[in-house]
Subunit: 251 residues, 2 copies
């Protein structure tokens, strides 16, 4: 177990609407959680504009640094959907009509509704493998380690749920979260000692305000739950020693 | 007006808790909207782990590419708060106790509550300018064009509201949003024509599902509202021509 490789991913969120503040992103948290469940660690996210240079730079940096890259957004039928053509440029591949994707779209729409704009959604980089879209049919695609998905959350999530079984993950990270109504400034010294006790268990401290009271959640993460337990015991003891009551968090 | 410079920004969100899916980020949309109101365009966001190399790479790439960089997260009192020391490394600056910040903390806490951990929050890169924290006192700081803020949203937002008057923005971007219960695939050709009519007005198309019906919001953005109006007129005409009713969106 403990020798399993660490498998990493990056997400590239493509969309002016997130950068303008018009839209609250809803894809990052889904991808983070779903990847973790698959044993893949989301290591970075980049949100970039619908801009060719910005997309190419982000995708090319991320695909070299990580095992997997997931992009969301910009694969629809309108003029501002430039992701697919841009991914082809990022890989130096030809870009054109994918016969399989065209067949899927033609089977889905009435003949009179097969517009040129909709057929744009059948264009992919040469050699791309399609990703099935169970909701609205227009497929995503994969080129090497880059998975190209739409931005609409319920469609993206359905497509991810279909493709995730093909991902090769490592060990899923386990986590234990314990909260107390104590200021983190008072717990800090004890937490540092616990961190030194096992540097491999990630110990995060997250202050919060609930019901007008200040508190702090301590989150411990490691692939092996047995490695977390002694640290979690130490955190409970630390909280009680400071006059707090350890509360097991859901988070 | 139209010759005002375009002023750009990047945000670097520092936090394992966002990448693990534990926390839904709440700072990006606030920064996007608040910066836009100040005439500054948020061009990219990076979410990175509490990891020195990742933070340095993101901050150094972003501060060279943009007029402003805003970081959130990792400036609290615990061992996992490494942002301040890492920003010093990114700039090649010494890192140590800031007398002004120490005075603020000592004035805020009772003498017996001034722990070593809390005094860590008074450490800054040499020469940093403090950013006032009206909520919980521990200040943020600025080094050149990089503004270092906490991750807790209500504190970050209060601090941003205080500092924003010192930012030099360009023209705020105006936007008009018009929705219709029409599939974007049918509007796509007409939208392309409108985009060619004025390539400087950004025209975005965002499909949605509401009350079980599919529709699409067309968002037009430009610093000059008078440049948007003819395109908006064209969008309304296009929607009516396809049998849809243009609805003025709030978004």
């Amino acid at each position: 177990m403990s020798n399993a490789p660490i498998v990493t991913a990056a997400a590239v969120i493509i969309g002016n609407e997130v950068l303008s503040g018009r839209t609250q992103d809803a894809n990052i948290q889904f991808l983070a959680t779903a990847l973790n469940d698959t044993g893949i660690r989301l290591m970075e996210v980049r949100i970039v504009a619908d801009d060719e240079n910005a997309i190419i730079a982000a995708v090319n940096q991320c695909r070299q640094a990580h095992d997997y890259v997931f992009t969301t957004g910009g694969i629809g039928p309108t003029h501002d959907d430039i992701t697919s053509a841009t991914i082809a440029k990022a890989f130096g591949l030809d870009f054109g009509r994918n016969a399989e994707a065209e067949a899927i779209l033609r089977a889905h729409y009435k003949p009179e509704d097969v517009t040129e704009a909709r057929l744009r959604m059948a264009n992919t980089p040469a050699g791309a493998e399609l990703i099935e879209n169970p909701v609205s049919k227009a497929p995503g695609f994969r080129v090497e380690n880059v998975y190209v998905l739409p931005g609409v959350p319920r469609i993206m999530q359905a497509m991810f749920d279909g493709l995730k079984h093909g991902l090769a993950g490592g060990e899923p990270v386990q986590s234990v979260s314990i909260a107390a109504y104590l200021p983190e400034g008072l717990m800090a010294a004890g937490l540092s000692e616990l961190q030194e006790q096992d540097p491999d268990v990630e110990i995060g401290s997250y202050p919060f305000a609930r019901d007008g009271k200040l508190g702090c959640s301590i989150v411990m993460r490691h692939p092996d739950a047995a490695r977390i337990e002694p640290i979690a015991g130490g955190v409970r003891k630390l909280m009680r020693g400071l006059g707090g009551e350890p509360l097991e968090d859901d988070a």
